[in-house]
């Protein structure tokens, strides 16, 4: 015996015992495997969820210095600093947040006056920033040296060429809409149109040009015709190449000096570093999707090969679960031992599945299924395992070898892949051996139980029991030996037969009968639609809120999460009323801006609105003559409210990618501008006076006006309508799917393939779906089956001996045996023989009395029999003689060999068949 053979035998023996073990204790083994999987997946909880969202890290502004290029931490605990925080950022972003308002407001002003003059000040501000220079001992430093110099826009963005800066500093402001030219602005008859002309027509999540130039989300800007607060906000965004704290602080103090914001409480402590993950574009997605499609095709073609099992889909699911959980286990184990996955999981996953493969699982299934059916389940599993043990081990060794070779390529990425693959292979093997084998054994056992429904309580003792049972029935039903005695065919009432179904099926039938699932789904759908309507942006809740507060917040801040408590109060509430409290002492610096000095009478009314969230809803509703710019918590780090694609989009216009890099966002510089009405009047464009009606601030009928709202509102409504429509579509789709999957007339699935009458029904007209039909083994015939006929409830079969048996088609019980009369007279009789009949299943029993049967068969050539029974109901109309249809069913019953189709009405004429055989 060579070494290979010895090894082979040993392996197969080990597999045999393992198979026995698995099939004997399925439940404990499955539980154990599940525990193993969970334990191995536990380290995965620590891994961050994959996502492309940006990550933030903030450092104090005081003595901030950009991190060194190396990994060496400079200050702070190294554990807290993320690993991407090395090297200089792509850019420093300095935003100058401007809030401007016209004050005092006069009632005859137009809506466009709210933002026209505030916007006009941006040009002056930009000039101030551009010309700012720091003079100190080291010389003069201007913005030009510090700022991020951008080059050409990408060639695809020609239409933005005049709007975004090129060949110079990255400095963005709303002034870019007019090429930073004040004359253009003054000549522009329609500001809103200019701003919105580059807005995309479709909804999109990435940054729009308006967001880019305003530097804050559109609805916060206040540049629309229904701005009740009459405060316009925008930012001037600076991109800086280097960080120069002195220059920046001088810029900050100068701007604060020029445009003081006395009640500003913005914190200016932290620099926020935002790290962007690699973005997955469409171009990367296409190959990924392709690999996944190939993967699914592979899984489909593999699982299609699973055959001859109780539930094909269950096993396919088990196979997929095996592979997936082995992958998870491999990742979990690798993380446990300190290997953090650097590869993109989604990308390599299909390849890992392909490497690990489903082959072993299929081979196992096939081998187990092809073992002799009459063996015990345990033995079948064990034998099937040991049959394939050698090839499984060989494949495993080969794959490990290939992966080992891959490991020695010394390319880090491939090495990592190989490591994952090795651990995945081993854990896959483990799962196949424990999990899948056990599932397979359960499945096979279920099939076995389904086959031998009813009589046999235990597997091992079944053959004897069965014999006894059949003999018993035979005797009990055939005590009268006279052939003319009417053969009683007793069909149990269907409710009784119903009891014989296994518990599991009864539960399912109960569900089906009461349409429980249908009703549950309907109730769920109704509840869901209710929730949808309630939470919809344009739906009930907003409507209710606006009803309660008598004001429509739609234009202002979209959907407020909660109605502002102060907003519910009447407008005359003392807390929010202006001019009630004595003015607070103002800490304005000496050199306040000129427009502030032009309205000295207003100063006593200055009033700290630092907690502006409370009163901001209706603060200016009253008289509307004076206005106050408030700085609140909502202005803190307003860039956070921008789309997370804002900065990547901005930089991508200049072909700078932020993927795997970071930018540092410096605290914004607050700037407050007050404009007097005279300035606003001067700024007004001649065409605007005729176009816009006076601004109807604070009047209650504004809310009831049916006019179309601003652009933002339209977008909001679009979103709402789209959401509602898609929700409805989803509901409809679900409904259709439900109808397709669970039609009301259960069991009539394949259209026209099987008539309803073919299937047994219970009292409720419910017949089990086709998938639950398993082959029924009818034992009792001594020789090959000649004919089969059925009317749905009864099955009549006839064997070569001439014995007719009537079976209950649903339970498989033999109801009546009608022997051939002459046969019994001549020979020793069938029942004598039957006493010694050993029900070895493969029909071998016919061989023992081959002589006798041939003898009997020859007798059949005699004259046709007279009709056997006169008092039997005429079943000929019920007997389905279309045997070509039944041939398929007969094939699935391995022990019944329907030899051919012969017509039955003229007695038992086998002459043609027998003549051919002999």
């Amino acid at each position: 015996m060579t070494l290979t053979e010895k090894l082979r035998e040993r392996i197969s023996r080990a597999f045999y015992s393992h198979g026995l073990l698995c099939a004997s204790y399925p439940i404990p083994i499955i539980l154990f495997t599940a525990l193993c999987i969970l334990a191995c997946c536990y380290p995965l909880l620590k891994l961050p969820l994959p996502g492309t969202g940006p990550v933030e890290f903030s450092t104090p502004l005081k003595d901030y210095a950009p991190p060194g290029p190396g990994a060496g931490p400079q200050h702070g605990e190294p554990g807290e600093r993320p690993d991407w925080y090395v090297g200089a950022p792509v850019a420093y972003i300095q935003q100058i947040l401007v809030k401007a308002t016209v004050s005092p407001w006069q009632k005859n002003f137009l809506a466009v006056d709210v933002f026209r003059s505030p916007l006009s000040r941006v040009f002056q501000l930009v000039e101030e920033i551009r010309n700012h220079a720091l003079r100190d001992s080291s010389g003069v430093r201007s913005l030009e040296e510090l700022c991020l110099q951008v080059t050409d826009l990408l060639p695809g963005l020609r239409k933005l060429r005049n709007l975004l800066p090129e060949h110079g500093c990255l400095l963005l402001s709303p002034g870019n809409f007019w090429q930073n030219d004040r004359e253009r602005f003054n000549a522009d008859p329609d500001i809103i149109k200019t701003i919105h002309q580059h807005e995309p027509k479709t909804l999109q999540t990435s940054a729009t040009l308006k967001d880019l130039l305003f530097g804050l989300p559109g609805r916060y800007s206040g540049v629309h015709l229904y701005n009740r607060r009459r405060v316009v906000s925008y930012t001037v965004t600076l991109g800086l190449q280097r960080y120069d704290s002195r220059f920046l602080s001088s810029l900050r103090s100068r701007l604060k000096l020029l445009h003081p914001s006395p009640n500003c409480s913005l914190r200016e402590e932290n620099v926020v570093h935002v790290h962007f993950k690699e973005e997955i574009g469409i171009a990367e997605l296409i190959p990924l999707v392709t690999t996944y499609i190939i993967l699914f095709a592979y899984i489909y073609f593999s699982t299609r090969k699973i055959d001859m099992v109780k539930s094909k889909w269950g096993l396919a699911l088990a196979a997929v679960v095996t592979v997936l959980s082995s992958l998870l286990m491999s990742v979990g184990l690798c993380t446990l031992f300190g290997l953090t996955p650097t590869l993109n999981g989604g990308e390599i996953f299909p390849y890992l599945v392909v490497v690990i493969g489903l082959e072993n699982v299929l081979v196992l299934t096939k081998s187990v299924v092809s073992t002799p059916v009459d063996l015990e389940v345990k033995l079948r599993i064990a034998q099937g395992l040991s049959n394939e043990s050698w090839s499984i081990m060989k494949n495993m060794a080969t794959e490990l070898g290939i992966i080992l070779i891959g490991y020695f390529t010394l390319v880090p990425a491939i090495q990592e892949f190989c490591l994952f693959a090795v651990v995945g292979l081993v854990s896959d093997f483990f799962l196949q051996m424990l999990f899948f084998t056990t599932v397979l054994s359960i499945d096979i056992r279920r099939m076995e139980v389904g086959t031998q429904r009813g009589p046999g309580p235990g597997e091992g003792a079944q053959p004897h029991q069965h014999t006894l049972h059949s003999q018993h029935t035979l005797h009990s039903q055939h005590t009268p030996h006279t052939p003319h005695t009417p053969h009683t065919i007793t069909l149990q009432p269907s409710s009784l037969r119903n009891l014989r179904l296994p518990k599991r099926l009864r539960v399912i039938y109960f569900f089906a009968r009461t349409r429980l699932a249908q009703r549950l789904i309907m109730a769920g759908t109704v509840i869901w639609i209710g929730i949808l309507v309630y939470t919809d942006p344009a739906g009930l809740r907003t409507y209710l809120t606006s009803q309660v507060t008598e004001q429509s917040p739609l234009g202002d801040a979209g959907l407020p999460p909660m109605p502002v408590p102060g907003g519910v109060l009447p407008a005359g509430d003392p807390k929010v009323d202006l001019s009630v409290f004595p003015s607070e002492p103002m800490q304005l610096p000496e050199n306040r801006t000129q427009q502030r000095e032009q309205q000295p009478g207003l100063e006593p009314n200055q009033h700290s609105w630092a907690q502006g969230a409370e009163g901001r809803g209706n603060g200016q509703l009253e008289l509307g003559t004076e206005a106050e710019v408030t700085w609140g918590a909502e202005d803190e780090e307003i860039w956070r409210k921008l789309s997370f694609r804002h900065w990547p989009a901005l930089f991508s216009y200049y072909n700078i990618t932020l993927a795997k890099r970071y930018i540092s966002i410096l605290p914004a510089i607050p700037v407050t501008l007050y404009l007097n009405p005279q300035e606003a009047l001067e700024m007004r464009h001649p065409q605007e006076a005729s176009r816009y009606q006076p601004f109807l601030a604070g009047r209650p009928d504004t809310a009831a006006q049916p006019e179309p709202r601003g652009h933002q509102d339209l977008t909001l409504y679009k979103v709402a309508a789209l959401g509602l429509a898609s929700g409805m579509l989803l509901v409809l789709l679900l409904f259709c799917l439900y109808r397709v999957l669970c039609p009301k007339n259960y069991g009539q699935s394949g259209p026209g393939r099987r008539r309803r009458g073919d299937l047994p029904c219970d009292d409720y007209g419910y017949s089990p779906p086709e998938t639950e039909i398993v082959p029924l083994v009818l034992r009792g015939h001594l020789m090959d089956i000649e004919c089969l006929a059925s009317d749905g409830m009864l099955l009549v079969s006839c064997c070569l001996v001439g014995q007719i048996r009537v079976w209950d088609a649903q339970t498989g019980d033999c109801l009546t045996v009608i022997p051939k009369p002459r046969l019994r007279r001549d020979s020793s009789g069938i029942f004598d023989y039957q006493e010694g009949w050993d029900p070895s299943p493969d029909g071998k029993n016919g061989l023992e009395d081959s002589f006798e049967s041939s003898h009997q068969l020859k007798r059949l050539l005699g004259p046709p029999q007279p009709p056997l029974f006169c008092d039997q109901p005429d079943l000929t109309s019920l007997i389905d003689t279309n045997f070509s249809e039944h041939a398929r069913a007969a094939e699935s019953e391995p022990r019944l060999r329907a030899v051919g189709a012969r017509h039955k009405d003229s007695g038992y004429d086998f002459s043609s068949l027998v003549g051919k055989v002999y």
Partner: protein, 225 residues
């Protein structure tokens, strides 16, 4: 007439489009068309994989980047794959050794996935130098052949195809029709033959699998006669 007779006896799992056509010429044409489209599709996808490396992605560019290479490249790849896919079973027949190793669609899918993976590796993985890249890809390609083909004829044909294709691309480069971003070895990307070899094996595998249907149909026809 024979076609009508053969129809009901066809196995159900046969795709109706390929198996219903029993005349050999039609079958050949259909196979060729199927292979052509598979080749075009793979060429587009793999080209996208290759250019990803040097391109930062922006939405307006994506659609153009799919078709960024010359328009004639995908059709050429399609034609080549059709020829290869038809050549393999043809050669099997002439040599008289029908290919029996792992003849099923799941194995073919696995093969395609590995081929895409090889391309993916060549595009995405950072290798220390080009020799390493080429050696790794060569090992992977031969592993592909050994896992899914294992026939000497397949190997020979694959090598021949790789040689020819490299020669053609070399000529194209010499004439300035096409250009590599960074040629490393005698004006050729040294990994190109490996990719061509793996592609040849893959397309041959698909072609053989498609030819299986023809064989089945013909066998059944003769059986009925």
């Amino acid at each position: 007439m024979a076609e009508n007779d053969a129809m009901p006896a066809l196995p159900k799992k046969c795709g109706p489009y390929i198996s219903s056509v029993t005349s050999r010429g039609m079958n050949l044409v259909i196979r060729g068309v199927v292979l052509f489209f598979i080749g075009v599709f793979l060429a587009l996808v793999l080209n996208l994989l290759q250019i990803q490396r040097n391109v930062t992605l922006f939405p307006p560019d994506v659609i153009t980047s799919i078709f960024s290479s010359a328009w004639w490249v995908p059709p050429c790849c399609g034609t080549a794959s059709a020829v290869i896919g038809l050549l393999y079973p043809c050669m099997d027949r002439h040599l008289g050794e029908p290919h029996k190793f792992k003849r099923e669609w799941s194995s073919v899918m696995r093969c395609v996935a590995v081929f895409v993976g090889i391309n993916h590796a060549s595009a995405k993985v950072d290798f220390a130098n080009n020799i390493q890249l080429s050696l790794t890809l060569a090992a992977l390609s031969i592993g592909l052949w050994w896992t899914f083909d294992r026939s000497r004829s397949g190997f020979g044909l694959g090598v021949g195809i790789a040689f020819l294709a490299t020669l053609v691309s070399q000529l194209l480069v010499y004439n300035g029709v096409y250009q590599y971003t960074s040629p490393d070895f005698l004006y050729v990307r040294s990994w190109l033959p490996c990719i061509f070899f793996a592609g040849g094996i893959t397309m041959g595998n698909i072609g053989r699998q498609l030819a299986m249907y023809e064989c089945k149909v013909i066998a059944e026809k003769s059986h009925e006669d």
